[in-house]
């Protein structure tokens, strides 16, 4: 099962077939499980040292759950998560503790992720106290160094979070995450609560810190332009699965999964000409319930290119070989072709689709034709 496609020296985190289900309970006194929320379903990926893996997808696609599994905050239902070669899913709490220093998180909402009744110095100093690395004057000095590094005035050591603006609070969150010199920082929508002009300040800070400390980021955001800006590799999630993954430029310039194409075409562009010229792929309906995900390809009920096979057979995540020979329309690609050995987060462009989009194909018009034809059968 172990997939060794890259030198392990380069890989900081390796997730193998991670599964996370949340039980759905019903009943009054005697609770019983009536279903499972398939939050993350058989996801594999790698995060390389010093690189950024961007994770995009809609609400409920399982991005945050996956991130929490990687951080070891919630146990996985199945699969393995290797951090520096150690499988953290099997570790006891005590054995896990030293490893927790290696992974830190920055949260979305700078208002609710900081305790309003504690002073900033104490908030940033917490990691030192918990891991007993520094005390007293030394801790204060280290906290003030951190504050200075993230662009806060160290003299504000004794202030409360309420005395800072949104951008400054996010800097406090960054300083706290940085305290123990982690190898991986998980950024869960770190800039979506910030104004545009402040957002750029925080993104620049994150990129400076990455270069200075050789950090790896798992960067979750719904703003596709932000993800493109910071990421080396990008993985697109839909209903708990990865639909497509590739190096950032490759994914944005040559998207192959119809969902990626729709997502990219839906992203607002701050340029009237681009906005006017672009042909939007408007997806019909909403994301289906993760309690009872659709059979076959999970995207098929909303896919403009869906065919009969998509409802039956789940497409494997395979390497892009379309540049050499595009798959003929209406014909599923040869199953015996490429085995699914390329893990998302690596350098290969992998797509889980029976009928990937070929360069130059117009999904907006194709969607209108195929969508209306296929809708009756799907609905």
């Amino acid at each position: 099962m172990a997939q060794r496609t890259q030198q392990d020296d380069d890989v900081l985190v390796r997730v193998e077939n991670a599964v996370k289900y949340f039980p759905v309970k019903a009943g009054g006194f005697i609770k019983h499980t009536v279903g499972q929320v398939h939050a993350v379903d058989d996801v594999s990926l790698v995060i390389e040292r010093g690189k950024t893996l961007g994770l995009v997808g809609e609400t409920g696609s399982g991005k945050s759950t996956l991130a929490r599994c990687v951080a070891g905050l919630i146990p996985v239902t199945g699969g393995k998560v290797f951090l520096n070669g150690t499988d953290i899913t099997k570790l006891s709490r005590g054995a896990m503790r030293p490893l927790r220093r290696e992974v830190q998180m920055i949260f979305q909402d700078p208002y609710s992720s900081l305790n309003p009744r504690r002073r900033v110095g104490a908030i940033i100093g917490d990691p030192f106290a918990i891991h007993r690395t520094a005390t007293g004057a030394e801790r204060k000095r280290m906290v003030q160094e951190l504050m200075e590094r993230v662009g806060l005035n160290p003299e504000h050591y004794n202030r409360f979070p309420a005395e800072f603006s949104g951008g400054q609070r996010q800097r406090i969150g960054v300083a706290r995450a940085l305290a123990l010199r982690p190898k991986l920082i998980i950024c869960d929508e770190p800039v979506s609560a910030l104004d545009v002009s402040i957002q750029a300040q925080v993104l620049n800070l994150l990129s400076d810190l990455q270069q200075e400390y050789g950090l790896s980021y798992l960067f979750i955001a719904h703003d596709l332009e932000v993800v493109r800006h910071v990421s080396d590799k990008v993985a697109v999630m839909y209903l708990g699965r990865i639909g497509e993954a590739a190096p950032a430029a490759d994914l944005y310039d040559r998207p192959r999964h119809p969902y990626t194409v729709a997502l990219l075409s839906a992203a607002p562009a701050a340029d009237p000409d681009t906005a006017a010229a672009r042909q939007r792929v408007i997806l019909t309906g909403d994301v289906p319930s993760p309690i009872d995900p659709p059979a076959g390809c999970r995207f098929h009920p909303r896919c403009p290119k869906a065919q009969e096979i998509c409802a039956r057979v789940e497409p494997p995540l395979v390497r892009d070989n379309s540049t050499a020979q595009p798959a003929a329309e209406g014909q599923p690609p040869d199953d015996s072709g490429q085995p699914a050995t390329d893990v998302p987060g690596g350098w290969a462009h992998v797509t889980a689709c029976h009928f990937p989009v070929v360069p130059g194909e117009n999904l907006a018009t194709a969607g209108a034709a195929a969508g209306s034809a296929g809708k009756g059968a799907v609905a």
Binding site: Q199, E225, R228, D286
Partner: protein, 407 residues
């Protein structure tokens, strides 16, 4: 009034024609639906007076979309809520003439007839704007029956179903009986839009209608708003912090900063020939494919406190082109293009607009000259004090020194 009615029913092409004709007739304002003049809104608080809106004027024409862009705290939401009397306790000055009557002078009863019937609002968070204990259909019917007393319950329910169908809710006959929590985020926002459309208003104010939604759902909702607007000729005010949304659906754009309009122009001018350094800064700080992987150019600092505003131009502490005049006097909107539709509140000369290298050079020259003049002035004054005449020789050197200290 008659002309307004014609314009409302006209196709987009005809509307454009009529607008042009009105423009040629020298009366752009002939067809103005809403005319806001010098609006001031402030809130007395324990810490002092919060000056949320400080003298904003704008027009909305039938069938047009005005995008209001600004950061949090720029006053964009207070501005529109004040028009509908939704800011109790505020000190309001100015006028807002909608179809001949000043909204700010109406009493509560008259205002109730404007709200929902003439002007309706779509709020950002549809979950908190819908009542969780009432069925969606009931909430739409209630709105119809509150304004049109002659409508029976049955008729109102039928109209609710029709409205839900119009905004693209599948199986509206059954979904009309659902509660808000049974709808997804996008469907709730569609229900809000259905409610906003229920009484055929002349103006819809959409306050960050897509901010809480995913990109694909946002695209659906913007598409829907645009289509409905084309069908019905409703005017739209779109409040947003997202320049991408504005680029998509606005005709005209007003950029707000610290309670004032920094720049006001047709959409293309704002994006391709921004004059105000704040607009330029906003455009440059957005990550885009052109700058992927490189460094972003953020606007330094943060928006000012509305209780304790800086002197002169409120943007000067964050501006890269600041000179003495900016600190002493606040600029007002002045035209920066021949047509007069593009206005900007900045002391930089009118021709220093755009993102091109030439425009940048011109701006630099102006700033250098201004700073040089200041330095020369200071130097001359100092020399005069020392009793030395002929300060020209030293004035030539001082700008260079001075530049370092300013930047």
């Amino acid at each position: 009034m008659a002309l307004t009615a014609i314009v409302c029913d006209a196709s987009p092409a005809r509307k454009a024609l009529i607008r042009e004709w009105c423009g040629l007739a020298g009366g752009r304002n002939l067809v103005t639906l809403l005319e806001v003049k010098d609006l001031h809104v402030s809130f007395p608080t324990a810490d002092g007076l919060v000056q949320a809106v400080r003298g904003v004027s704008f027009d909305v024409e039938p069938g047009r979309t005005l995008g209001i862009v600004g950061e949090s705290g720029s006053g964009k939401t207070v501005l529109t809520q004040t028009l509908l009397g939704l800011t109790p306790g505020a000190e309001v000055e100015g006028s807002a003439v909608f179809e001949g009557s000043d909204l700010l002078r109406l009493d509560e009863d008259e205002l109730r007839h404007v709200r929902g019937e003439q002007i309706s609002v779509i709020f950002q968070d549809p979950l908190t704007s819908l009542h969780p204990l009432y069925r969606i259909g009931w909430q739409i019917s209630e709105m119809i029956r509150a304004h049109e007393k002659s409508v029976s319950k049955k008729e109102a329910a039928d109209r609710s179903i029709e409205l839900l169908r119009r905004v693209g809710i599948p199986k509206p006959e059954t979904r009309v009986n659902d509660y808000p929590h049974q709808f997804s985020g996008g469907m709730r926002q569609r229900a809000m839009i259905a409610m906003a459309l229920a009484l055929h208003p002349k103006l819809i104010i959409a306050d960050e209608p897509t901010t809480a939604l995913d990109a694909t759902v946002q695209a659906q909702i913007l598409d829907l708003l645009l289509r409905l607007q084309q069908d019905s000729g409703t005017a739209l005010i779109m409040i947003t912090h997202d320049l991408g949304v504005v680029a998509d659906i606005a005709d005209d754009v007003m950029v707000m900063y610290a309670g004032r309009a920094a720049e006001k122009a047709p959409k293309r001018d704002v994006f391709y020939a921004p004059h105000h350094p704040y607009t330029k800064g906003l455009l440059e700080s957005i990550p885009s494919s052109k700058a992927a992987g490189g460094r972003l150019k953020p606007i330094p600092g943060q928006p000012p406190s509305l209780i304790n505003l800086p002197s002169g131009c409120k943007f000067h502490p964050r501006c890269g082109y600041v000179f003495d005049h900016c600190l002493s006097e606040e600029p007002v909107l002045h035209p920066v293009a021949e047509r007069g539709a593009h206005t900007s509140a900045c002391w930089l000369p009118a021709n220093a607009a755009g993102l091109s290298a030439e425009a940048e050079e011109l701006r630099e020259q102006v700033v250098q000259a201004e700073r040089g003049a200041e330095a020369a002035g200071v130097a001359a004054a100092a020399l005069a004090e020392l009793g030395v005449s002929g300060g020209e020789a030293t004035a030539g050197e001082t700008p260079a020194d001075n530049e370092g200290s300013v930047a």
